[in-house]
């Protein structure tokens, strides 16, 4: 696994050569750098991501010949999501435990990119295939996301906007490092005695690494989606998922919820199904199945608007008890 500090060191090491050519080309350096880093840190994971990219390219070529309205063209790319199973079953198949670095995030990004290319109204743009590769190995997002389509990077590449690094970006990267290393470690130690600190440890690690990814990418002139937006302010389940792991929440709503809902599944059932998928994406376990089911039920049937006064406070407390409890159950419970 690439630690947050090593991730930052790799990014800074690539920043130096990127200063010698036009900023928009740094995306290529970061993709190739991500491939090389993955090959050194986790060769099997690099192979799986590369195989998923190849699979996506073939699917786009094959499905792209079908009419845009064709169901197969619309949904054929979902087969790519089966590659996520590798993370959970590889030790049964390979009989050894390998590092699965970034496979979960890369597979989703590759899928999104392939899906976006297939949704194109124009003739199949073959040059866009390259962005499937970039989405798979883009170094800032390789380890822990966020989730986005390679075509988002292409748009920024083609726009060739000047790099605008602010002091805040440097501060946010350092904040991410402190969160993911110091705070997460301290919370994990305290969490041995006080369980909710284990949740804080997970949050600090995830938030910190997301900050490193988002703001280090800006060093190169590329903006990534923001994963966390003051989640502690959330008052309803809906509000929570608009603030917590936003890129993944948006992905399941757009690519799981919407297709199901548009095909007649009730919004509640589509929501629950989408979040069960998200739970199993985290880990193929009963614990995460229950986690996804409960979050889906909370989102589908829970309050949509925040309440005022003491009722609002109680709702907020209830929300966080559920969030922390489900996280502990899924990650550390008997069925994790």
């Amino acid at each position: 696994m690439i630690s947050p500090l090593q991730h930052l060191v790799l990014l800074l090491a690539l920043w130096v050569p990127c200063q010698f050519f036009a900023p928009r080309h740094s995306v290529h350096v970061l993709a190739v750098g991500g491939l090389i880093a993955a090959a050194f840190y986790a060769p099997i994971a690099a192979f799986v991501i590369a195989a998923t990219i190849l699979e996506a390219v073939l699917l786009v070529i094959i499905l792209g010949r079908l009419p845009r309205q064709s169901g197969l063209r619309q949904f054929g790319a979902y087969v790519l999501l089966l590659n996520l199973l590798f993370v959970d079953v590889h030790d049964l198949v390979l009989n050894i435990n390998v590092a699965t670095l970034g496979i979960s995030f890369s597979t989703i990004r590759i899928f999104m990119t392939a899906k976006n290319i297939l949704s194109s109204r124009k003739a199949l743009p073959m040059r866009d295939m390259y962005w499937i590769f970039v989405s798979g190995f883009y170094l800032p997002a390789l380890i822990i996301g966020p989730i986005f389509s390679g075509l988002d990077l292409k748009k920024q590449h083609d726009a060739a906007a000047p790099v605008a690094v602010s002091l805040r970006d440097g501060r946010m990267v350092l904040q991410g490092l402190v969160l993911s290393v110091l705070v997460a470690t301290a919370c994990a130690i305290i969490g041995q005695a006080i369980a909710p600190f284990l949740f804080l440890s997970l949050f600090a690690a995830f938030w910190g690494q997301s900050l490193i990814a988002e703001h280090s990418s800006r060093f190169f002139g590329y903006r990534l989606p923001v994963n966390f937006n003051h989640p502690w302010k959330a008052k309803t389940p809906q509000d929570f998922w608009a603030r917590w792991h936003k890129s993944m929440a948006q992905f399941v709503l757009q690519y799981i919820f919407l297709p199901l809902n548009l095909r007649g599944l009730s919004p509640q059932m589509a929501t629950i199904t989408a979040f069960v998928f998200m739970g199993l994406w985290h880990n193929l376990s009963l614990g995460y199945f229950v986690w996804g089911l409960c979050h889906g039920v909370m989102l589908a049937f829970g309050p949509k608007e925040p309440a005022e006064g003491i009722r609002g406070l109680l709702m907020q407390v209830g929300l966080w008890v559920a969030v922390i409890g489900l996280s502990l159950f899924a990650n550390y419970g008997a069925y994790s």
Binding site: F40, L94, N95, I96, N97, V98, V165, L167, G170
Partner: protein, 351 residues
């Protein structure tokens, strides 16, 4: 503020240099103390015990030294180095440093640090594990350990270089860089503590093991566990269920371990130390399997081999609670007998 990354790069380089110089690694005292022992401003010990946690729990150097003097009239200094976990490569950098700073011990008892726990496959023969016992090794030592490393073959379908814990050379370098940066962050606390070492006196010489159970045994010890019945029950269960990997010294599953042990022994031989390989038993073992001693003699030629297994056919045979603390480590009572055994045979090997 396009220069923000430059500032970050400069800060990280500065921290890495400071950490590489201060070596204030956030490690267990045992690892730091082992290297401090190698750097001591004192001549080499006459007798040096080198081994894993079994040695740390089983052999008390102070007791061995006093028994050598009292019972055998031999005035020899005795030291012990015990690093937990059976990493055969962990001792090379330490012994190299010991010999360079303090000279060669006259007699080295070197525990055969084979892995006997199948669950340890994933970690045991990945050549480089810097955050553990190779933290203080130099880069050249790390490269030396990697060079020509033939990994153990556990008959798995994929090469071990694909395993989760295997560190390629670039990853090894990144791990070292990261350790140095964290060491620099720890340095201010080190300064505020007045630069005092945690490895002094008894901690250094006797208790340089995180499990500070032993080191103060005497001949008068009649150790009785607090809850002998429960302990005996637990140990009996452990004894019945314990499964150890075979010695298989000539098998492909020991290829890497043998190569690393041989390289270490070569260093000691070149320094003119006399070497005695030894083995300490696990719970339930009472004899060395047939053929193993011949295999040891064949793989590690011209090196003596000693083991206290006879004790487990005699005085310690049925005394579970007063000879073992767990499956792999003896308790105080067992340590007394084992230390006594080694004190009594040391005279035979000392020049």
């Amino acid at each position: 503020m396009k220069r923000a990354p430059i500032y970050l790069i400069l800060v990280l380089i500065g921290l890495a240099v400071l950490g590489g110089w201060s070596r204030t690694y956030a490690l267990a005292p045992t690892v730091n103390c082992v290297y401090e022992m190698a750097d001591l401003n004192a001549p080499a010990a006459d007798v040096l015990f080198v081994g894993t946690s079994r040695t740390g729990r089983g052999i008390d150097p102070v007791y061995v030294q006093s028994r050598l003097a009292d019972r055998h009239g031999i005035d020899a200094t005795v030291e012990r180095v015990a690093l937990p976990a059976s990493y055969p490569q962990q001792f090379r950098p330490f012994l190299q440093r010991y010999i360079e700073h303090r000279g060669a011990p006259k007699l080295v008892f070197f525990q055969l640090p084979y892995n006997f726990r199948s669950e340890r496959h994933p970690e045991i023969d990945v050549p480089i594990n810097t955050p553990r016992n190779l933290a203080h090794a130099s880069l050249s030592e790390l490269f030396s350990i990697r060079r020509d490393a033939q990994l153990n073959d556990y008959d798995e379908p994929l090469s071990r270089i694909f395993h989760r814990d295997y560190a390629s050379i670039p990853v090894m370098l990144m791990n070292r860089l990261e350790m140095n940066i964290y060491a620099a962050l720890k340095y201010p606390a080190h300064l505020m503590n007045g630069l005092t070492s945690e490895c002094q006196g008894e901690t250094l010489y006797r208790h340089n093991h995180p499990l500070r159970l032993y080191g103060d045994i005497t001949d008068a010890v009649t150790f009785v566990p607090e809850t002998p019945k429960r302990m005996v029950t637990r140990l009996k269960e452990q004894k019945e269920t314990a499964q150890y990997m075979p010695f298989a010294i000539k098998g492909p599953m020991r290829r890497f371990e043998n190569a690393q042990i041989l390289a270490t022994l070569d260093k000691l031989k070149r320094a003119n130390s006399r070497i005695v390989l030894f083995y300490l038993p696990a719970l339930g073992e009472s004899r060395i399997p047939v053929g193993v001693e011949e295999d040891i003699a064949s793989v590690f030629q011209n090196v003596n081999f000693a083991h206290p297994m006879a004790l487990y056919q005699g005085p310690l045979a049925d005394q579970l609670a007063v000879s073992f603390a767990d499956t792999h480590h003896v308790d105080n009572f067992g340590a007394l007998h084992i230390s006594r055994y080694f004190a009594d045979i040391s005279g035979n090997y000392l020049p």
